[in-house]
């Protein structure tokens, strides 16, 4: 069973990841590169937290990007594109493994159809729900402290996943009500907001990035769902089989 889950995660992740990585190079990456021009122009000399603190006196506000001059960084061009593709493949393999494992743990029958359904749910939990509080950001955007945002992001994802599960799969009104509360809770608490102010990155560019990023995430989850279902059925000899079989 473990071997099968690992194979399905790996193969489905590679299939969907190759597709997403290609789309990424023509959708979001060009916008990131454009934003970096503004970002660099904004803090030409020091370009790190220390300089930012010195000028704003605010440790939590980080409109600039932290680059340690010592750390390795891919060179723009082929190297950066290749490294980004590898990171994207690792991400889709990770997501495909988690999706397959979650379906198996829930005793779900894995088919292209059911895996697509789980993929849609994953899009809501992992991309759409956190985006309501923390918009997908271009480099150089104003943002609250990283750790606070990471904690809120993870809490929102987990609460939304559990909430959706309770609503979709537990047949009791109290479970469904608890699920709805769980989904709403992170937004009632509220995401860590960016400090007031403006950045050099044009709002129009940022808006296009938000739309592109969410659209790409939706496509990513549909392709992960479809390939998990397809590979699972293929590895089972062409028959839809119960995940626990």
């Amino acid at each position: 069973m473990l071997t099968r889950i690992l194979w399905v995660g790996l193969l489905a992740g590679l299939i969907s990841g190759a597709f997403v990585a290609l789309l990424q190079t023509v959708t979001t990456t060009p916008l990131i590169l454009k934003a970096e021009v503004y970002e660099t122009a904004e803090t030409p000399a020091a370009h790190d937290h220390a300089a930012q603190k010195a000028t704003t006196g605010d440790q939590d506000a980080t409109p600039a990007h932290h680059h340690d001059a010592e750390a390795w960084q891919p060179e723009d061009g082929l190297q950066r594109t290749t490294v980004t593709m590898i990171a994207t493949l690792a991400t889709t393999i990770g997501f495909a493994l988690m999706l397959t494992a979650a379906m198996v743990a829930a005793g779900e029958t894995v088919t292209t159809k059911t895996a697509l359904g789980w993929g849609v749910a994953a899009f809501f939990a992992i991309n759409l729900a956190p985006a309501l509080g923390l918009s997908p950001e271009l480099p150089g955007s104003l943002a609250a402290a990283l750790e606070d945002r990471q904690v809120w992001w993870i809490a929102t994802v987990v609460a939304t996943m559990v909430g959706l599960y309770l609503i979709a799969r537990v047949d009791h009104w109290a479970a469904k009500a608890a699920g709805a509360v769980l989904i709403a809770l992170p937004h009632i608490v509220g995401a860590p907001l960016p400090p007031d102010g403006e950045t050099a990155v044009p709002a129009e560019l940022a808006a296009r990035f938000v739309a592109m990023s969410l659209g790409l995430a939706a496509i990513m989850w549909l392709s992960i769902g479809a390939s998990v279902g397809y590979v699972w059925v293929r590895l089972s000899g062409g028959q839809a089989s119960e995940a626990r079989a």
């Binding site: 980004t84 991400t91 494992a101 743990a105 991309n127 923390l134 480099p139 990023s213 119960e242 626990r244």
Partner: protein
């Protein structure tokens, strides 16, 4: 016939084993996501930078 036999056999093969396998695979996937999306090391951050922004993982 074959399917029935397999199901019956693996039914005994226990839900516990299957859950353990799922848990392991889930943790492995989670580790990959942590490395590409969350790890603080500069090298990992720089390598996954564009992907972190695209996937809207909190970055910087």
């Amino acid at each position: 016939m074959t399917t029935t036999t397999t199901t019956a056999k693996t039914g005994i093969d226990s839900r516990a084993n299957v859950r353990l396998a799922a848990l392991f695979a889930f943790a492995l996937g989670g580790t990959l996501i942590f490395l590409t999306g969350f790890a603080g090391a500069d090298v990992l951050h720089n390598a996954a930078h564009d992907t972190r922004h695209t996937m809207s993982f909190p970055c910087h």
